[in-house]
Protein backbone atom coordinates (compact mmCIF):
# COMPACT_ATOMS: atom_id res chain seq x y z
CA UNK A 1 0.00 0.00 0.00
CA UNK A 2 1.08 3.59 -0.58
CA UNK A 3 1.23 6.36 1.98
CA UNK A 4 1.40 10.13 2.00
CA UNK A 5 2.67 11.96 5.05
CA UNK A 6 2.10 15.69 5.32
CA UNK A 7 3.29 17.81 8.21
CA UNK A 8 1.78 21.28 8.62
CA UNK A 9 2.86 23.11 11.70
CA UNK A 10 2.23 20.98 14.73
CA UNK A 11 -0.08 18.47 12.99
CA UNK A 12 0.97 15.45 10.90
CA UNK A 13 -1.57 13.94 8.50
CA UNK A 14 -1.04 10.39 7.23
CA UNK A 15 -3.03 9.30 4.19
CA UNK A 16 -2.89 5.56 3.42
CA UNK A 17 -3.93 4.49 -0.08
CA UNK A 18 -5.35 1.04 -0.88
CA UNK A 19 -5.77 -2.02 1.30
CA UNK A 20 -4.44 -2.26 4.83
CA UNK A 21 -4.17 -6.04 5.25
CA UNK A 22 -1.89 -8.50 7.04
CA UNK A 23 1.01 -7.81 4.66
CA UNK A 24 0.65 -4.02 4.64
CA UNK A 25 0.15 -3.61 8.40
CA UNK A 26 3.84 -3.62 9.51
CA UNK A 27 4.81 -0.92 6.95
CA UNK A 28 1.80 1.18 7.93
CA UNK A 29 2.64 0.95 11.60
CA UNK A 30 6.23 1.97 10.91
CA UNK A 31 4.98 5.01 8.98
CA UNK A 32 2.75 5.99 11.90
CA UNK A 33 5.71 5.69 14.27
CA UNK A 34 7.70 8.01 11.99
CA UNK A 35 4.73 10.41 11.86
CA UNK A 36 4.74 10.53 15.65
CA UNK A 37 8.27 11.89 15.53
CA UNK A 38 10.21 8.64 15.82
CA UNK A 39 13.14 9.46 18.09
CA UNK A 40 12.81 13.21 17.35
CA UNK A 41 10.35 15.84 18.53
CA UNK A 42 6.76 14.53 18.59
CA UNK A 43 3.99 16.57 16.86
CA UNK A 44 0.99 17.84 18.78
CA UNK A 45 -1.46 15.73 16.77
CA UNK A 46 -1.49 12.86 14.26
CA UNK A 47 -4.48 12.42 11.95
CA UNK A 48 -5.08 9.45 9.64
CA UNK A 49 -7.10 10.55 6.60
CA UNK A 50 -9.02 7.50 5.35
CA UNK A 51 -10.41 9.03 2.13
CA UNK A 52 -8.42 6.56 0.00
CA UNK A 53 -8.25 3.66 2.48
CA UNK A 54 -10.32 0.89 0.90
CA UNK A 55 -10.06 -1.95 3.39
CA UNK A 56 -8.78 -2.64 6.91
CA UNK A 57 -8.18 -6.18 8.18
CA UNK A 58 -7.82 -7.16 11.84
CA UNK A 59 -4.03 -6.93 11.50
CA UNK A 60 -4.54 -3.38 10.23
CA UNK A 61 -6.74 -2.57 13.22
CA UNK A 62 -3.92 -3.74 15.46
CA UNK A 63 -1.62 -1.09 13.92
CA UNK A 64 -4.21 1.56 14.86
CA UNK A 65 -4.51 0.17 18.39
CA UNK A 66 -0.72 0.19 18.96
CA UNK A 67 -0.51 3.75 17.59
CA UNK A 68 -3.36 4.94 19.80
CA UNK A 69 -1.55 3.53 22.84
CA UNK A 70 1.80 5.05 21.85
CA UNK A 71 0.12 8.42 21.19
CA UNK A 72 -1.49 8.35 24.61
CA UNK A 73 1.92 7.68 26.25
CA UNK A 74 3.57 10.59 24.39
CA UNK A 75 0.66 13.00 24.86
CA UNK A 76 -0.12 13.16 21.11
CA UNK A 77 -3.75 13.61 19.99
CA UNK A 78 -4.53 10.74 17.58
CA UNK A 79 -7.63 10.76 15.41
CA UNK A 80 -9.14 9.48 12.16
CA UNK A 81 -11.14 11.23 9.49
CA UNK A 82 -12.98 10.78 6.19
CA UNK A 83 -13.37 7.01 6.51
CA UNK A 84 -15.07 5.19 3.63
CA UNK A 85 -18.34 3.52 4.71
CA UNK A 86 -16.95 -0.07 4.72
CA UNK A 87 -13.91 0.93 6.78
CA UNK A 88 -16.05 3.04 9.09
CA UNK A 89 -18.22 -0.01 9.73
CA UNK A 90 -15.15 -2.07 10.70
CA UNK A 91 -14.14 0.61 13.22
CA UNK A 92 -17.65 0.72 14.65
CA UNK A 93 -18.17 -3.05 14.85
CA UNK A 94 -14.81 -3.65 16.50
CA UNK A 95 -15.46 -0.87 19.02
CA UNK A 96 -12.32 0.98 17.89
CA UNK A 97 -14.30 4.13 17.09
CA UNK A 98 -14.92 4.35 20.81
CA UNK A 99 -11.23 4.57 21.72
CA UNK A 100 -10.04 6.56 18.66
CA UNK A 101 -11.98 9.73 17.71
CA UNK A 102 -13.37 9.58 14.15
CA UNK A 103 -14.18 12.84 12.32
CA UNK A 104 -16.31 13.27 9.22
CA UNK A 105 -13.63 15.07 7.16
CA UNK A 106 -10.09 16.41 7.33
CA UNK A 107 -11.18 20.01 8.01
CA UNK A 108 -13.08 19.11 11.16
CA UNK A 109 -10.24 16.83 12.30
CA UNK A 110 -7.73 19.67 11.84
CA UNK A 111 -10.06 22.11 13.62
CA UNK A 112 -10.39 19.69 16.53
CA UNK A 113 -6.59 19.27 16.66
CA UNK A 114 -6.08 23.07 16.76
CA UNK A 115 -8.71 23.42 19.45
CA UNK A 116 -7.14 20.71 21.55
CA UNK A 117 -3.86 22.61 21.66
CA UNK A 118 -5.23 25.95 22.83
Amino acid sequence: MNLQIEATGDVTVVEPVGRLDFDAAPGFQEALERAMGGAGKPPGAVIVDGARLEYVSSAGLRAFLLTARAAQRSGIAFSLCALQPAVREVFELSGFSRIIPVHADRASALAQAQQGRT
Binding site: S57, S58, L61, R62, L93, S94, G95, R98
Partner: protein, 426 residues
Protein backbone atom coordinates in the same frame (compact mmCIF):
# COMPACT_ATOMS: atom_id res chain seq x y z
CA UNK B 1 42.47 -61.15 -22.75
CA UNK B 2 39.75 -62.20 -25.20
CA UNK B 3 39.48 -60.80 -28.64
CA UNK B 4 37.51 -57.58 -28.21
CA UNK B 5 34.14 -57.28 -29.87
CA UNK B 6 33.53 -60.84 -30.98
CA UNK B 7 33.55 -62.45 -27.56
CA UNK B 8 31.57 -59.78 -25.79
CA UNK B 9 28.94 -59.73 -28.54
CA UNK B 10 28.82 -63.49 -28.44
CA UNK B 11 28.31 -63.31 -24.68
CA UNK B 12 25.59 -60.72 -25.08
CA UNK B 13 23.88 -62.85 -27.70
CA UNK B 14 23.99 -65.87 -25.38
CA UNK B 15 22.48 -63.87 -22.54
CA UNK B 16 19.72 -62.63 -24.87
CA UNK B 17 20.84 -59.01 -24.82
CA UNK B 18 21.00 -57.03 -28.02
CA UNK B 19 24.15 -54.98 -28.33
CA UNK B 20 24.35 -52.38 -31.08
CA UNK B 21 27.23 -52.99 -33.50
CA UNK B 22 30.36 -51.09 -32.47
CA UNK B 23 30.81 -48.17 -34.77
CA UNK B 24 33.91 -46.60 -33.34
CA UNK B 25 37.15 -47.82 -31.95
CA UNK B 26 36.37 -46.26 -28.61
CA UNK B 27 33.26 -48.35 -28.30
CA UNK B 28 35.33 -51.40 -29.15
CA UNK B 29 37.78 -50.40 -26.45
CA UNK B 30 34.92 -50.11 -24.01
CA UNK B 31 33.73 -53.57 -24.81
CA UNK B 32 37.20 -54.87 -24.32
CA UNK B 33 37.00 -53.93 -20.69
CA UNK B 34 35.10 -56.59 -18.84
CA UNK B 35 32.97 -55.60 -15.89
CA UNK B 36 35.49 -57.30 -13.63
CA UNK B 37 38.37 -55.14 -14.82
CA UNK B 38 36.31 -52.02 -14.48
CA UNK B 39 35.27 -53.04 -10.98
CA UNK B 40 38.92 -53.42 -10.04
CA UNK B 41 39.76 -50.01 -11.53
CA UNK B 42 36.93 -48.27 -9.70
CA UNK B 43 38.09 -50.07 -6.55
CA UNK B 44 41.45 -48.27 -6.77
CA UNK B 45 40.83 -44.94 -8.50
CA UNK B 46 37.06 -44.36 -8.36
CA UNK B 47 36.11 -41.36 -6.22
CA UNK B 48 34.24 -43.66 -3.81
CA UNK B 49 36.54 -46.69 -4.06
CA UNK B 50 37.59 -48.05 -0.66
CA UNK B 51 41.32 -47.81 -1.51
CA UNK B 52 41.11 -44.63 -3.58
CA UNK B 53 42.59 -42.42 -0.85
CA UNK B 54 45.54 -44.77 -0.17
CA UNK B 55 46.24 -45.23 -3.88
CA UNK B 56 46.09 -41.46 -4.42
CA UNK B 57 48.62 -40.89 -1.62
CA UNK B 58 50.90 -43.56 -3.05
CA UNK B 59 50.84 -41.89 -6.49
CA UNK B 60 51.46 -38.51 -4.87
CA UNK B 61 54.56 -39.84 -3.07
CA UNK B 62 55.75 -41.36 -6.34
CA UNK B 63 55.29 -38.04 -8.18
CA UNK B 64 57.38 -36.23 -5.58
CA UNK B 65 60.06 -38.94 -5.72
CA UNK B 66 60.08 -38.81 -9.50
CA UNK B 67 60.47 -35.02 -9.61
CA UNK B 68 63.28 -35.20 -7.05
CA UNK B 69 65.06 -37.89 -9.05
CA UNK B 70 64.89 -35.78 -12.22
CA UNK B 71 66.68 -33.08 -10.24
CA UNK B 72 69.35 -35.47 -8.91
CA UNK B 73 69.90 -36.94 -12.38
CA UNK B 74 70.81 -33.53 -13.77
CA UNK B 75 73.76 -33.17 -11.34
CA UNK B 76 76.95 -33.53 -13.47
CA UNK B 77 79.54 -36.24 -12.64
CA UNK B 78 77.15 -38.65 -10.93
CA UNK B 79 78.73 -42.11 -10.26
CA UNK B 80 77.69 -44.85 -12.66
CA UNK B 81 75.81 -46.90 -10.02
CA UNK B 82 73.66 -43.89 -9.16
CA UNK B 83 72.76 -43.24 -12.79
CA UNK B 84 71.94 -46.94 -13.09
CA UNK B 85 69.66 -46.92 -10.04
CA UNK B 86 67.86 -43.78 -11.18
CA UNK B 87 67.31 -45.35 -14.59
CA UNK B 88 65.69 -48.42 -13.03
CA UNK B 89 63.60 -46.21 -10.74
CA UNK B 90 62.46 -44.20 -13.75
CA UNK B 91 61.33 -47.37 -15.53
CA UNK B 92 59.40 -48.55 -12.47
CA UNK B 93 57.87 -45.11 -11.91
CA UNK B 94 56.72 -44.75 -15.48
CA UNK B 95 55.35 -48.29 -15.41
CA UNK B 96 53.23 -47.43 -12.37
CA UNK B 97 52.11 -44.10 -13.90
CA UNK B 98 51.13 -45.93 -17.05
CA UNK B 99 49.23 -48.51 -15.02
CA UNK B 100 47.46 -45.67 -13.18
CA UNK B 101 46.67 -43.85 -16.45
CA UNK B 102 45.09 -46.95 -17.92
CA UNK B 103 43.15 -47.62 -14.71
CA UNK B 104 41.71 -44.13 -14.80
CA UNK B 105 40.58 -44.56 -18.39
CA UNK B 106 38.95 -47.86 -17.48
CA UNK B 107 37.23 -46.43 -14.40
CA UNK B 108 35.95 -43.29 -16.14
CA UNK B 109 32.27 -43.54 -17.10
CA UNK B 110 33.06 -41.44 -20.21
CA UNK B 111 36.47 -42.50 -21.61
CA UNK B 112 36.66 -39.72 -24.20
CA UNK B 113 35.92 -37.04 -21.65
CA UNK B 114 38.66 -38.33 -19.38
CA UNK B 115 41.34 -38.67 -22.08
CA UNK B 116 40.79 -35.08 -23.17
CA UNK B 117 40.26 -33.70 -19.67
CA UNK B 118 42.97 -31.63 -18.01
CA UNK B 119 43.97 -34.50 -15.75
CA UNK B 120 43.94 -36.99 -18.62
CA UNK B 121 46.29 -34.85 -20.75
CA UNK B 122 48.62 -34.16 -17.82
CA UNK B 123 48.80 -37.87 -16.95
CA UNK B 124 49.69 -38.68 -20.55
CA UNK B 125 52.33 -35.93 -20.77
CA UNK B 126 53.94 -37.26 -17.60
CA UNK B 127 54.68 -40.63 -19.22
CA UNK B 128 54.88 -39.76 -22.92
CA UNK B 129 58.53 -38.56 -22.92
CA UNK B 130 59.73 -41.92 -21.60
CA UNK B 131 58.09 -43.84 -24.41
CA UNK B 132 59.17 -41.35 -27.07
CA UNK B 133 62.79 -41.45 -25.81
CA UNK B 134 62.75 -45.20 -26.33
CA UNK B 135 63.84 -44.35 -29.90
CA UNK B 136 66.90 -42.65 -28.40
CA UNK B 137 67.13 -40.16 -31.20
CA UNK B 138 69.32 -37.31 -30.20
CA UNK B 139 66.94 -34.56 -31.12
CA UNK B 140 64.39 -36.19 -28.89
CA UNK B 141 66.57 -35.53 -25.86
CA UNK B 142 64.95 -32.12 -25.66
CA UNK B 143 61.77 -33.96 -24.82
CA UNK B 144 63.38 -35.02 -21.53
CA UNK B 145 62.45 -31.58 -20.29
CA UNK B 146 58.84 -32.56 -20.75
CA UNK B 147 59.23 -34.91 -17.79
CA UNK B 148 59.25 -31.81 -15.62
CA UNK B 149 55.58 -31.56 -16.53
CA UNK B 150 55.04 -34.13 -13.80
CA UNK B 151 54.87 -31.11 -11.52
CA UNK B 152 51.43 -30.58 -13.06
CA UNK B 153 50.40 -33.98 -11.75
CA UNK B 154 50.92 -32.56 -8.26
CA UNK B 155 48.62 -29.69 -9.02
CA UNK B 156 45.79 -31.86 -10.31
CA UNK B 157 46.12 -34.02 -7.24
CA UNK B 158 45.63 -31.10 -4.84
CA UNK B 159 42.97 -29.49 -6.98
CA UNK B 160 40.98 -32.70 -6.90
CA UNK B 161 41.34 -33.02 -3.15
CA UNK B 162 40.17 -29.45 -2.55
CA UNK B 163 37.18 -29.76 -4.87
CA UNK B 164 36.22 -33.05 -3.27
CA UNK B 165 36.41 -31.55 0.21
CA UNK B 166 34.36 -28.47 -0.70
CA UNK B 167 31.74 -30.62 -2.40
CA UNK B 168 31.48 -32.79 0.68
CA UNK B 169 31.21 -29.74 2.99
CA UNK B 170 28.48 -28.26 0.79
CA UNK B 171 26.57 -31.52 0.73
CA UNK B 172 26.81 -31.77 4.52
CA UNK B 173 25.55 -28.20 5.00
CA UNK B 174 22.70 -28.79 2.55
CA UNK B 175 21.71 -31.94 4.36
CA UNK B 176 21.73 -30.10 7.71
CA UNK B 177 19.57 -27.30 6.27
CA UNK B 178 17.13 -29.74 4.77
CA UNK B 179 16.92 -31.59 8.05
CA UNK B 180 16.23 -28.37 9.99
CA UNK B 181 13.56 -27.34 7.49
CA UNK B 182 11.89 -30.73 7.63
CA UNK B 183 11.93 -30.59 11.43
CA UNK B 184 10.36 -27.12 11.45
CA UNK B 185 7.69 -28.27 9.02
CA UNK B 186 6.97 -31.36 11.09
CA UNK B 187 6.65 -29.24 14.25
CA UNK B 188 4.26 -26.83 12.51
CA UNK B 189 2.19 -29.79 11.37
CA UNK B 190 2.01 -31.06 14.96
CA UNK B 191 1.02 -27.56 16.15
CA UNK B 192 -1.66 -27.41 13.46
CA UNK B 193 -3.02 -30.79 14.52
CA UNK B 194 -3.05 -29.63 18.16
CA UNK B 195 -4.87 -26.46 17.20
CA UNK B 196 -7.50 -28.30 15.20
CA UNK B 197 -7.90 -30.69 18.16
CA UNK B 198 -8.83 -27.72 20.37
CA UNK B 199 -11.88 -27.11 18.20
CA UNK B 200 -14.87 -29.21 19.29
CA UNK B 201 -15.55 -32.14 17.02
CA UNK B 202 -19.19 -32.62 17.94
CA UNK B 203 -22.08 -30.54 19.21
CA UNK B 204 -23.52 -31.48 22.64
CA UNK B 205 -26.52 -33.81 22.17
CA UNK B 206 -29.73 -31.89 22.84
CA UNK B 207 -33.12 -32.69 21.45
CA UNK B 208 -34.24 -30.10 18.94
CA UNK B 209 -30.76 -28.67 18.39
CA UNK B 210 -28.36 -29.40 15.61
CA UNK B 211 -25.14 -27.63 14.68
CA UNK B 212 -22.22 -27.81 12.27
CA UNK B 213 -19.02 -25.79 11.95
CA UNK B 214 -15.87 -25.46 9.90
CA UNK B 215 -12.60 -23.53 10.13
CA UNK B 216 -10.35 -23.17 7.07
CA UNK B 217 -7.04 -21.55 8.12
CA UNK B 218 -5.33 -19.20 5.62
CA UNK B 219 -1.86 -20.36 6.69
CA UNK B 220 -0.65 -23.50 8.49
CA UNK B 221 -2.01 -22.10 11.73
CA UNK B 222 -5.13 -19.97 12.07
CA UNK B 223 -6.37 -17.35 14.51
CA UNK B 224 -10.09 -18.11 14.18
CA UNK B 225 -11.95 -20.48 16.47
CA UNK B 226 -15.39 -21.67 17.44
CA UNK B 227 -16.51 -23.50 20.57
CA UNK B 228 -19.54 -25.26 22.07
CA UNK B 229 -19.74 -25.14 25.84
CA UNK B 230 -22.04 -27.30 27.97
CA UNK B 231 -23.37 -25.13 30.79
CA UNK B 232 -25.21 -25.96 34.03
CA UNK B 233 -29.03 -26.25 33.69
CA UNK B 234 -28.63 -27.81 30.23
CA UNK B 235 -27.84 -24.53 28.47
CA UNK B 236 -25.36 -24.39 25.62
CA UNK B 237 -22.71 -21.72 25.05
CA UNK B 238 -21.73 -20.96 21.48
CA UNK B 239 -18.58 -19.00 20.57
CA UNK B 240 -17.10 -17.67 17.36
CA UNK B 241 -13.91 -15.62 17.44
CA UNK B 242 -11.18 -14.11 15.28
CA UNK B 243 -7.69 -13.22 16.55
CA UNK B 244 -5.94 -10.30 14.80
CA UNK B 245 -3.46 -11.51 12.19
CA UNK B 246 -2.64 -15.18 11.65
CA UNK B 247 0.23 -17.64 11.92
CA UNK B 248 1.87 -18.94 15.08
CA UNK B 249 1.36 -15.82 17.32
CA UNK B 250 -2.35 -15.69 16.46
CA UNK B 251 -2.66 -19.43 17.09
CA UNK B 252 -1.15 -19.11 20.56
CA UNK B 253 -3.41 -16.21 21.45
CA UNK B 254 -6.36 -18.17 20.09
CA UNK B 255 -5.56 -21.06 22.45
CA UNK B 256 -5.26 -18.70 25.44
CA UNK B 257 -8.50 -16.86 24.56
CA UNK B 258 -10.44 -20.06 23.97
CA UNK B 259 -9.28 -21.61 27.26
CA UNK B 260 -10.09 -18.47 29.29
CA UNK B 261 -13.54 -18.11 27.78
CA UNK B 262 -14.30 -21.82 28.16
CA UNK B 263 -13.34 -21.77 31.87
CA UNK B 264 -15.10 -18.51 32.69
CA UNK B 265 -18.33 -19.44 30.87
CA UNK B 266 -19.29 -21.98 33.54
CA UNK B 267 -18.99 -19.33 36.28
CA UNK B 268 -20.59 -16.38 34.54
CA UNK B 269 -23.88 -17.32 32.98
CA UNK B 270 -24.46 -13.80 31.68
CA UNK B 271 -22.70 -13.61 28.26
CA UNK B 272 -21.72 -9.93 28.67
CA UNK B 273 -20.22 -10.55 32.09
CA UNK B 274 -18.34 -13.57 30.72
CA UNK B 275 -16.80 -11.46 27.93
CA UNK B 276 -15.82 -8.71 30.38
CA UNK B 277 -14.03 -11.24 32.62
CA UNK B 278 -12.35 -12.89 29.63
CA UNK B 279 -11.21 -9.48 28.34
CA UNK B 280 -9.59 -8.59 31.67
CA UNK B 281 -7.86 -11.99 31.81
CA UNK B 282 -6.52 -11.57 28.24
CA UNK B 283 -5.30 -8.01 28.87
CA UNK B 284 -3.22 -9.36 31.77
CA UNK B 285 -1.40 -11.88 29.54
CA UNK B 286 -0.93 -10.21 26.19
CA UNK B 287 2.76 -9.47 25.50
CA UNK B 288 2.24 -9.16 21.70
CA UNK B 289 -0.68 -6.70 21.89
CA UNK B 290 -2.93 -9.03 19.94
CA UNK B 291 -6.68 -8.91 20.30
CA UNK B 292 -9.65 -11.10 19.48
CA UNK B 293 -13.16 -10.35 18.27
CA UNK B 294 -15.67 -12.62 20.03
CA UNK B 295 -19.36 -13.27 19.64
CA UNK B 296 -20.68 -15.31 22.57
CA UNK B 297 -24.25 -16.53 23.04
CA UNK B 298 -26.06 -18.87 25.42
CA UNK B 299 -29.04 -20.87 24.17
CA UNK B 300 -31.71 -22.39 26.38
CA UNK B 301 -32.68 -25.42 24.29
CA UNK B 302 -35.96 -25.79 26.16
CA UNK B 303 -37.34 -22.30 25.48
CA UNK B 304 -35.31 -21.15 22.45
CA UNK B 305 -34.23 -18.00 24.29
CA UNK B 306 -30.81 -16.80 23.07
CA UNK B 307 -28.77 -14.37 25.18
CA UNK B 308 -25.73 -12.86 23.48
CA UNK B 309 -22.92 -10.33 23.81
CA UNK B 310 -20.54 -9.04 21.17
CA UNK B 311 -16.88 -8.09 21.58
CA UNK B 312 -16.16 -6.36 18.28
CA UNK B 313 -17.23 -9.30 16.09
CA UNK B 314 -19.25 -9.33 12.85
CA UNK B 315 -22.89 -9.57 13.94
CA UNK B 316 -24.31 -13.04 13.15
CA UNK B 317 -27.45 -13.72 11.14
CA UNK B 318 -30.71 -15.34 12.15
CA UNK B 319 -32.54 -17.01 9.29
CA UNK B 320 -36.14 -17.27 10.27
CA UNK B 321 -37.92 -20.51 9.40
CA UNK B 322 -39.89 -18.71 6.67
CA UNK B 323 -36.73 -17.37 5.00
CA UNK B 324 -36.07 -13.75 6.06
CA UNK B 325 -32.56 -13.04 7.33
CA UNK B 326 -32.02 -10.73 10.32
CA UNK B 327 -28.78 -9.35 11.72
CA UNK B 328 -28.11 -9.54 15.48
CA UNK B 329 -27.27 -5.86 15.76
CA UNK B 330 -27.36 -5.46 19.55
CA UNK B 331 -24.67 -2.95 20.60
CA UNK B 332 -21.37 -4.59 21.48
CA UNK B 333 -18.13 -3.68 23.17
CA UNK B 334 -14.49 -3.35 22.19
CA UNK B 335 -12.50 -6.32 20.87
CA UNK B 336 -11.07 -8.47 23.70
CA UNK B 337 -7.46 -8.06 24.83
CA UNK B 338 -7.11 -4.40 23.73
CA UNK B 339 -8.16 -2.55 26.88
CA UNK B 340 -9.16 -3.81 30.30
CA UNK B 341 -12.30 -2.72 32.12
CA UNK B 342 -14.58 -2.83 29.06
CA UNK B 343 -18.34 -3.40 29.32
CA UNK B 344 -20.25 -5.83 27.12
CA UNK B 345 -24.04 -5.47 27.16
CA UNK B 346 -26.13 -8.66 27.02
CA UNK B 347 -29.05 -8.81 24.59
CA UNK B 348 -31.84 -11.36 24.27
CA UNK B 349 -33.57 -12.76 21.19
CA UNK B 350 -36.29 -15.42 20.96
CA UNK B 351 -35.65 -18.24 18.48
CA UNK B 352 -38.69 -19.84 16.90
CA UNK B 353 -39.01 -23.39 15.72
CA UNK B 354 -36.94 -23.92 12.54
CA UNK B 355 -34.83 -20.77 12.94
CA UNK B 356 -31.15 -20.94 12.07
CA UNK B 357 -28.34 -19.03 13.71
CA UNK B 358 -25.36 -18.34 11.38
CA UNK B 359 -22.09 -17.28 13.01
CA UNK B 360 -19.11 -16.34 10.81
CA UNK B 361 -15.78 -14.53 10.76
CA UNK B 362 -14.71 -11.78 8.37
CA UNK B 363 -12.71 -14.34 6.37
CA UNK B 364 -16.08 -15.16 4.79
CA UNK B 365 -17.39 -11.67 4.00
CA UNK B 366 -13.93 -10.22 3.27
CA UNK B 367 -12.74 -12.89 0.85
CA UNK B 368 -11.34 -11.17 -2.24
CA UNK B 369 -11.49 -12.44 -5.79
CA UNK B 370 -8.79 -11.85 -8.41
CA UNK B 371 -10.55 -8.63 -9.51
CA UNK B 372 -10.06 -7.29 -5.94
CA UNK B 373 -13.79 -7.41 -5.17
CA UNK B 374 -15.11 -8.38 -1.72
CA UNK B 375 -17.45 -11.34 -1.22
CA UNK B 376 -19.42 -9.05 1.07
CA UNK B 377 -22.22 -9.39 3.61
CA UNK B 378 -24.96 -9.27 0.96
CA UNK B 379 -23.75 -12.42 -0.87
CA UNK B 380 -23.59 -14.25 2.45
CA UNK B 381 -27.07 -13.09 3.44
CA UNK B 382 -28.41 -14.21 0.05
CA UNK B 383 -26.86 -17.68 0.40
CA UNK B 384 -28.32 -18.00 3.91
CA UNK B 385 -31.74 -16.84 2.71
CA UNK B 386 -31.90 -19.14 -0.34
CA UNK B 387 -30.13 -22.25 0.94
CA UNK B 388 -30.67 -22.06 4.71
CA UNK B 389 -33.60 -24.46 4.79
CA UNK B 390 -31.56 -27.67 4.95
CA UNK B 391 -29.31 -29.14 7.59
CA UNK B 392 -26.64 -26.98 9.27
CA UNK B 393 -23.91 -29.13 7.69
CA UNK B 394 -25.39 -28.54 4.24
CA UNK B 395 -25.49 -24.77 4.75
CA UNK B 396 -21.89 -24.68 6.04
CA UNK B 397 -20.79 -26.67 2.99
CA UNK B 398 -22.85 -24.47 0.66
CA UNK B 399 -21.35 -21.19 1.98
CA UNK B 400 -17.75 -22.52 1.92
CA UNK B 401 -18.29 -23.61 -1.68
CA UNK B 402 -19.78 -20.24 -2.60
CA UNK B 403 -16.82 -18.35 -1.08
CA UNK B 404 -14.30 -20.67 -2.76
CA UNK B 405 -16.01 -20.27 -6.13
CA UNK B 406 -16.10 -16.50 -5.73
CA UNK B 407 -12.42 -16.20 -4.75
CA UNK B 408 -11.35 -18.33 -7.72
CA UNK B 409 -7.57 -18.22 -8.11
CA UNK B 410 -7.07 -15.37 -5.60
CA UNK B 411 -5.12 -16.60 -2.53
CA UNK B 412 -7.04 -16.94 0.75
CA UNK B 413 -5.91 -13.98 2.87
CA UNK B 414 -7.76 -14.72 6.11
CA UNK B 415 -9.08 -17.73 8.05
CA UNK B 416 -12.63 -18.69 7.11
CA UNK B 417 -14.88 -19.92 9.94
CA UNK B 418 -18.57 -20.73 10.03
CA UNK B 419 -20.97 -22.17 12.60
CA UNK B 420 -24.64 -22.90 11.90
CA UNK B 421 -27.17 -23.89 14.57
CA UNK B 422 -30.80 -24.87 14.10
CA UNK B 423 -33.34 -24.89 16.89
CA UNK B 424 -36.73 -26.45 17.24
CA UNK B 425 -36.61 -29.01 14.47
CA UNK B 426 -36.81 -32.70 15.25
Amino acid sequence: MDHPSVSSRARAARSGLTVPLPVTRVRRLTELVSAKTRGFAVFLVGSRGPYARAFENFILALVIFSIASIGVESIPGLPAWATQTLHVAEIVTVAIFTFEYLLRIVAAPNKFAFIFSYQGVVDLLAIAPFYLLGFDARWLRALRLLRLLRVLKLQTHFLETVVEERTRELAEKNAALEKAQAQLKAELEVARALQLAILPSAFPKRSGCEAAARMIPATTMGGDFYDYIELPDGEIGLVIADVSGHGVPAAFFMAVARTNLHELAAHHLDPGECLAQTNDALCAQNPLDLFVTVFYCVLDPKSGVLRYANGGHNPPYIRRAAGPVETLRGAGGLVLGAMSGGRYPTHTVQLLSGDRLVLFTDGVTEAFNSADELYGAQRLADEVHVHGGGTPAALVERICQSVTNFAGTAPQSDDITLTVLTWGTS
